[in-house]
Amino acid sequence: MSEGGGSTAKAEGVRDGSQLWRTLAAAGREAIAEALTEEDFDRLHIESGIERFLGEQVRAGRNVVVTGNAGDGKTHLLRRVKHDLESVGAVVVEDATAEMRGDDPGPILKKWREAIEGGRPFCLAANEYPLYQLRMADVSAPHLVEVGRQCQDRLAYGDDETTGCAGNVVVIDLSLRNPLGGEFFDSMLDRLLDDEGVKTALASPREAVVRRNVERLAHPQVRARLRALAERMVALGHRATVRELWILFARMVFGTEEHGEYQRMDWYSEALFERDDRFDLTEALQAVDPAGCSHPVWDAALDARAPEVREGWVLQAPVPTPHPMLDWENFAALKRRFYFEHEKGEEVFDLADADAKEFEDLVQGRKGSGRMLVANLVDAINAAYCPRHFDSRDQHLYLWNGHRFHEQPSRSFVATERVATDDFVTEVPRLPARLERCFDYRSDHIALTARRLSGTPRLRIDFPLWRTLCRLARGLPRKLIPERDIHRLDAFLQKLSAGTVGERDSVWSIHLENLELIQVNLSADRSRFERVRSYG
């Protein structure tokens, strides 16, 4: 199965322009920051709309708080634009944690206050907890109240949106920018492929492996399919930091140092799916590995080297193994290359998890979110409490309650209130108007929203919960519902209950030991059982 026959130059002793990428390829999640110089960071910087947005906000006199997860690039971003921001009078704090005295955010509060008094915009990069500490340190300051509001209203749903920026503050949450989605992903790979250091390496006769990987990664079809995998990961709730993606891309081009002489392991497509315990993204990639999804026709054709897989490759076909039978590793490698490079490659996912595909279509707006979807979701949520199907199970969401004192599951659930399916809508979140044009946002969830109830209770449905709901619709027993999901459903019903005032003259009761459902009508003064209807 070897191809190209070249060997990867060892990082050790190599001091050419590709050293940065080789260092990245060899790095773990923690090692990278210390290993890179300011010059390296400059080289890795991808100009995006955020810099422009930040500059506009500051020039308009607004205070800007950049927050997000570690590795999202907050400090890097502010360092890049610090000079420009300061040139228009802004006070810039690049790292809130470094500025704080232990857990005391006093020094930041003081700087911000002074900036306000001096009429200067204030820019701060802060991880979420230091930002929380800052908010709590002065809960009456209008600018911090606004920071809190924007932290809680990170996304906009439907028509609901609090407009404007009270306190003249804009919070940019970089954790919403998933580098796996949008143009940023492509820009990063372009930066790597266009890098002078990489081009220098390509000129070396020893770098056949790099040449081959770069050639393939530059091909539009390979890029499109790589991008499709990334989008699927976003939809399934996976995310990556910029740092992780750089490491992954570098590995796809250069492989990792440990491999030594190159065989199949240095294919870009193998580096992509190679597990590395230091590196969460490699675990997440297993969810979209083409080798993990069987397809009877193409699998058989690949295994038998059938004529239909000898042709149709966008570039040179992989050199097959000389062995008569493909072992698992070789088959998986071939199938991954097939996905990226064969004209029929996308078909490997034809039999992939249908729930995942449907969810991906929903969050990416490729599938409408009409009444049928809402009815199906309502039915599935009811099924978590009432496994007995009845005629209006998809027409109302019943607010089930299984009160007891001890630690055992309830013997029955009772509902006296319900919310009509027509009162719910599904919504795909978007960035709020205040952050428009800041960066691309790719949603990883949809929301089921009770739009007419006070507080518009909202159930966030991410892929794990979506999968559970799909399984509930197919008969998943309550005791097999993941704890996380049952908590979410309970919390949603609780929020709905708080916004519902029922007459309580109709009671639905599901007996979970014999799966018998009854509807009991009470008299208006609730002194008499008037009717008992049994649902089988």
């Binding site: 570690a70 991880n127 907890y129 029955s412 009761s509 002194s527």
Partner: protein
Amino acid sequence: MARARDTDAVRRVHGAILGYQPFRMKPVHFATSFLLALTGRYYRLESLNKASVPKTAPKDGPRVRDEYPADRLHPLLVERGILDQSVDLEAFRTLRAHLNAAYNNDGSALSAVYPPYSTFGADYSAPSTRYISHRSKNHGYSGSFVLSVLEATAAGRETLEGIRRLLELPPPPLAAFGEPLLDDVAEEWCDKHDELYGEIKPERLARIGSGMEDCTIAVGRLAANLERLQSNYSMRYMVIGLCCWLFAYMMRQGSDSPLLLVDALQGSNPRIRAQSRATYTRALDLFSFSYDRAFEDDNGSAIQEDDWTVFASSAEARQVLDEHFRDLGVRIGIVQPRSAVAKHKHVELQADTLRVLAYSLLEKDQVMTLPEFAAQLRTTWSVVVGAHAADGDNLRANRFGPLDQDEDLLPNATAFQALLVRLGLAVEPSDGLTLVAIDAEELI
């Protein structure tokens, strides 16, 4: 006659040492006792009892006609206007099965108590105070005891105010289901705690109240959070919280610094499982031994030597102590496994129990780091998960081990953290921090 004397003696010993009588008590029994003591009233609930405890064959007595069988109860309820005559016998039978599932939802705590039946007592899975009857037999006046202790301190009185406000909130849907069967008029409840177990002197109540002050404040915080959240499960969470208070009280009877190691890895690490069992077993032993120590320290002032002799020579009296501690720990979701025949029990928090403990430690909008939360869990509820830097030292100092920080405690803490995240009580936003809060996902 002699047996009655012995029973009285044992009861006096329990009153003098524990303050109430330990039975094989479930949270539902405690709930009845506490709510009776707190409100000072009860409802007869005869119709509810007859309707929600189905009997098929009649058991008529010489002077009493059994009204529990459906075919006899049906016309009675129709005649009293509780049941519309259009509801036929078959539908009524179905209704009764559902009423039983709803109000006997606590493991066979609800029995027929009206003539010709008189056994076992009746405790309803009460969604409101209107479902509290005086026919409970298994609580040993534990609720009266807890109420007295809470009333003895300022923190306790504040906590009780919070609980009273909670009871005034609209009840959950379950309260509506049985409403036609409820009584309109409450009757005054006579608390016989002092008559049965002797009055607890104010100085003793104050001493217990002071020793339990951290737990009392935590329960008050729980009540405040539940009042704000207006959950349909408020009553359930409150009762679990009060039972946790009682469990902590029992542990503190045995030791000044009790410790329970939670096996968050659910048995996948044999060393954690073994030490978790060891912490539970020691807490149980120390609780049992606390009686002997109390007698030794008493010098005959509160415990009569004759009473003690009867108690000390009764294997049954000893056993009930163990069963009380074990049953309460299991039923409030702290101890596992549930089966009474399982010899070895360990500590494993059930989801709702962890939620209750979190609500008791976190103020509205308060955020704690995981080590801070773990420290609060340990100091207030004596529960250790390995998430605090001092947990390993504490376990070692108490002769539990050997446990390795990296191989044992860290994975256990990670599993505990994962449970908090699954329950929406924690988020992992950045810098490797885990932040714990009520509604963590919305707050941070």
